[in-house]
């Protein structure tokens, strides 16, 4: 028996199973994961082909795997909660992944939410920046360590309530988006910081990318469901969420208006609510015909049934593209229009 086991493990170690693959492999963002998995499952049920395997590796990790090369050892799709970066595109090209198709699948809104029983108030991006940044400009525009501990110290119109915010850790895509959509915009609303952006972009970046570390902003981990539980016990506290979580937990938490707009499915897809980001899936065109089901999977993802306004992904919390844009995306995705260098920022 023992001899057999040794032999078996030796064979396992040396055999290199570089067989053809009959199953689509997808990697990438944990934000897009809940949507891509739903599409994968539906695809597996209706197409008669194997259900694709979807890994949750994060957007950056996804591009790294996706761009590592062409062939059955490398994934066919990657999910991303932001557009592909120039560096990633060049990395792809260097490894022979020259035909990348970008599919914009919808939007994800970020919500600033608190317990459903708490009294709501509106905030602006500038106020959020003042509440959460490590350094804020004082009246003369000089940077000082964040002195605010109460909302009404930022603006007398806000309630006398302690600043207490739970947010995702830096490894999270939600955090990246929050920084870019709220903190950067909030910082730019100060004249002194706008000037700084022109003079010393690096220093400006350091300002909006640094969250306060004095305990008023708490990194609560990747698990949004835990933050929901924390908010229920503390009506003063806020959390930073993906909109799907707020929609799902509407009995426990509610989103407040940012710049006068409350996030809803309508305000996000119309672009009225500004704290939202597009979500993407990238396909490797070179795998069409090599891995079965590539084109059919793209067709399923862009179908009205999935990403349409009443599609099954909207039930999962994805905010659909508006009519014109969705038609355009569908057309270019199904035609497998390849991304060119000048389309990447």
């Amino acid at each position: 028996m023992k001899r057999f086991l040794f032999a078996a493990s030796l064979i396992a170690l040396t055999a290199v199973p570089a067989l053809a693959r009959d199953q689509i492999r997808i990697v990438g963002s944990s934000t897009v994961y809940p949507f891509t998995t739903a599409v994968a499952e539906e695809f597996g049920k209706t197409s008669g082909m194997k259900t694709p395997v979807v890994e949750s590796t994060g957007t950056g990790g996804g591009f790294k795997l996706f761009c590592a090369g062409v062939g059955v050892d490398h994934p066919d799709f990657t999910n991303a909660s932001r557009a592909i970066k120039k560096g990633e595109y060049e990395d792809c090209a260097k490894n022979g992944v020259t035909e990348v198709v970008e599919i914009k699948v919808g939007f994800d809104g970020l919500a600033f939410a608190h317990a459903a029983s708490a009294t709501a108030f509106d905030v602006t991006k500038q106020q959020l920046f003042m509440a959460l940044a490590k350094q804020v400009p004082d009246k003369e525009g000089k940077l000082v360590a964040n002195p605010y501990t109460m909302w009404n110290e930022i603006d007398a119109a806000l309630p006398a309530q302690k600043i207490e915010v739970y947010g995702p850790p830096p490894t999270s895509g939600t955090r990246d988006s929050f920084m870019e959509l709220v903190m950067e915009k909030g910082a730019e609303s100060f004249d002194s910081l706008k000037q700084m952006k022109k003079d010393d972009a690096k220093a400006f970046e350091a300002v909006w990318k640094s969250m306060r570390e004095d305990g008023l902003f708490v990194e609560a981990g990747e698990n949004d469901n835990l933050i929901v539980q924390k908010l229920q016990g503390n009506t003063n506290a806020f959390g930073i969420f993906g909109f799907a979580n707020v929609a799902e937990n509407a009995a426990q938490i509610k989103a407040i208006a940012v710049d006068g707009v409350v996030p809803t499915f309508e305000t996000i897809s119309s672009g009225e609510y500004k704290v939202a980001r597009p979500l993407f899936v990238y396909a490797k065109k070179q795998h069409v015909g090599v891995v079965p089901g590539m084109a059919e999977f793209v067709a399923e993802y862009t179908s009205e049934k999935a990403t349409g306004e009443d599609g099954y992904l909207s039930e999962k919390g994805l905010i659909a593209l508006l009519g014109d844009e969705s038609a355009k995306v569908r057309e270019s995705a199904n035609a497998m229009t390849v991304l060119t260098a000048d389309m990447v920022k």
Binding site: P34, A40, A116
Partner: protein, 492 residues
């Protein structure tokens, strides 16, 4: 001894007794706190997991229509369509297209799976009527379990007037306030915000009735406002009407134990990840037990004691303390990149975890071999056994209980491992239940991690239930370790 000395001595004794008493108290306190934490944790998890084990099914008589399910090709039949037709017949008063869609959304999109199973097993059912349980959507199931909102029903006080004007109905009576929900005459209404002067919103069309006497109509109210739940007022009222017709039955949620992963909470199960875990453990045992025991015996019995073996010993001890994610990186570099093995397969997962548990197994096995009294070995050598015979015939059997205990405990911790699997692609959404060591698979703790992150409420209970299953597996393994130790233990 002077009086003073005696006093000092008595004081000393009293102090020492007091110190010992305090120490015992600390011990009891520490134990109480630990037990309390453990109890709170366990009770909390088990409590949260309760909704996952049972589910509400709509048990309906379904006509297996031969025009929808072709007797020649039953597998391609439209089972969902058949089930949906039966579901709509339960509430014929729901007529408009939009309402029917809302009503259909209360069924799971795999509601016909049980019917499908039965018909495929016995094709003679086509054309007949069968009574089958039909799965509800996760939201409808949670509503019926009372997780979404509390429901209060009050029997109507006094008579209720229903005046029909074409499509519109006007209701008046005691308790008919704006927003109130009324069940009467086989239908259901929601009173308009303007009160009884405006036509009421028809949730289900009533039969012909002008006046409903006291006691034969009901007022419904929900604890959670409509904006706070996924099941709207209309859907909730339909579910209440169907509940009155005894359509629903609470049954064991076999899906949870027999399915692979799914994005629909009511269809998601743990079988795929349990099979994945078992495969990983099998590979781990097959590799790390023989290698680990052989290494331990060699190091303990045969190896010369020199600088080199000392260095190896130190390194084995160090490896036991290396964070598991490092082994994942090693697996990625060696098995995936160098040997070109596929991602997400249990074979690679088992190899990585085997590497991770090797040091622990070697250390435990060495301790067990060392604990065998030298007299046994010497007696064997004394009657002419070779060194190898002494080890394999006498020392190893006596060391086996210790080796087993060490191995099982190493495996128990390996079963709970997720970090190294992230890097080799086993943190993934996999629907199909793996059937071989080269099929994509995931493991139980990874399944727990993935579910805990999903927004749907119903996954909360599934996550807790999966944790309970993992805990049960751990307990069984630990019990096995204790049993093996007791069964084979020798004392000298």
């Amino acid at each position: 001894m002077t009086e003073k000395q005696r006093k000092v001595q008595a004081g000393n004794i009293a102090r020492r007794y007091a110190a010992e008493k305090r120490f015992r108290l600390y011990g009891v306190a520490a134990l109480t706190v630990t037990t309390a934490f453990l109890a709170v944790l366990l009770v909390d998890i088990v409590w949260r997991s309760l909704p996952a084990y049972l589910q509400y099914n709509a048990v309906m008589t379904v006509t297996v229509d031969a025009s929808k399910i072709d007797p020649a090709k039953p597998a391609a039949g439209d089972f969902e369509g058949v089930v949906k037709a039966a579901w709509r017949e339960q509430l014929p008063s729901v007529e408009s297209r939009a309402d029917r869609r809302l009503l259909n959304s209360l069924l799971s999109n795999a509601g016909g799976s049980e019917l499908r199973r039965q018909v495929l097993a016995d094709p003679s059912l086509i054309g007949k009527e069968v009574s089958v349980p039909v799965m509800l959507s996760d939201d409808a199931d949670l509503y019926l379990k009372g997780v979404v909102t509390g429901v209060a029903r009050a029997t109507g006080d006094g008579p209720l007037q229903i005046r029909a004007e074409g499509e519109n109905y006007f209701l008046s009576g005691r308790g008919i306030d704006p927003g109130a929900i009324v069940l009467a005459a086989g239908g259901a209404f929601k009173i308009a915000p303007e009160g009884s002067s405006a036509p009421a919103e028809v949730i289900a069309a009533p039969g012909p009735a002008a006046e409903v006497p006291a006691g034969q109509w009901q007022l419904l109210s929900f604890d959670t406002p409509e904006t706070g739940r996924k099941i709207g007022d209309r859907q909730a009222v339909w579910l209440e009407m169907l509940r009155d017709k005894n359509v629903f039955e609470r049954q064991v949620a076999w899906n949870f134990f027999l399915n692979g992963d799914s994005r629909e909470a009511e269809q998601a199960g743990i079988l795929g990840s349990i099979v994945g875990s078992l495969m990983v453990v099998f590979v781990t045992v097959a590799l790390s037990l023989p290698v680990g025991v052989a290494a331990a015996i060699y190091l303990e019995e045969f190896a010369p004691k020199n600088r080199l073996t000392e260095l190896i010993e130190v390194n084995i001890n160090n490896l036991a303390a290396v964070p598991s994610i490092i082994f994942g990186l090693l697996g990625l570099a060696v098995f995936l990149s160098f040997f070109g093995m596929p991602r997400s397969v249990p074979l690679v997962g088992g190899l990585v975890i085997a590497l991770m548990s090797l040091p622990t197994i070697i250390i435990a096995s060495r301790a067990a071999v060392r604990a065998v009294p030298p007299s046994i070995r010497e007696a064997a050598l004394g009657i002419g056994a070779s060194h190898q015979q002494a080890v394999f015939h006498h020392v190893l059997p006596l060391a086996m209980p210790g080796i087993m205990t060490g191995t099982i405990l190493a495996l128990a911790s390996a079963i709970g491992e997720t970090a190294p699997l992230l890097l080799i692609g086993m943190v993934a959404f996999i629907v199909d239940i793996p059937s071989g060591f080269l099929d994509s698979a995931t493991v139980l703790p990874v399944q727990i991690y993935l579910w805990s992150d999903l927004p749907e409420k119903a996954f909360e209970a599934r996550t807790a239930a999966a944790i309970v299953v993992l805990l049960v597996i751990m307990m069984v393994l630990n019990a096995l370790a204790i049993y093996l130790r007791k069964r084979f233990e020798r004392r000298w």
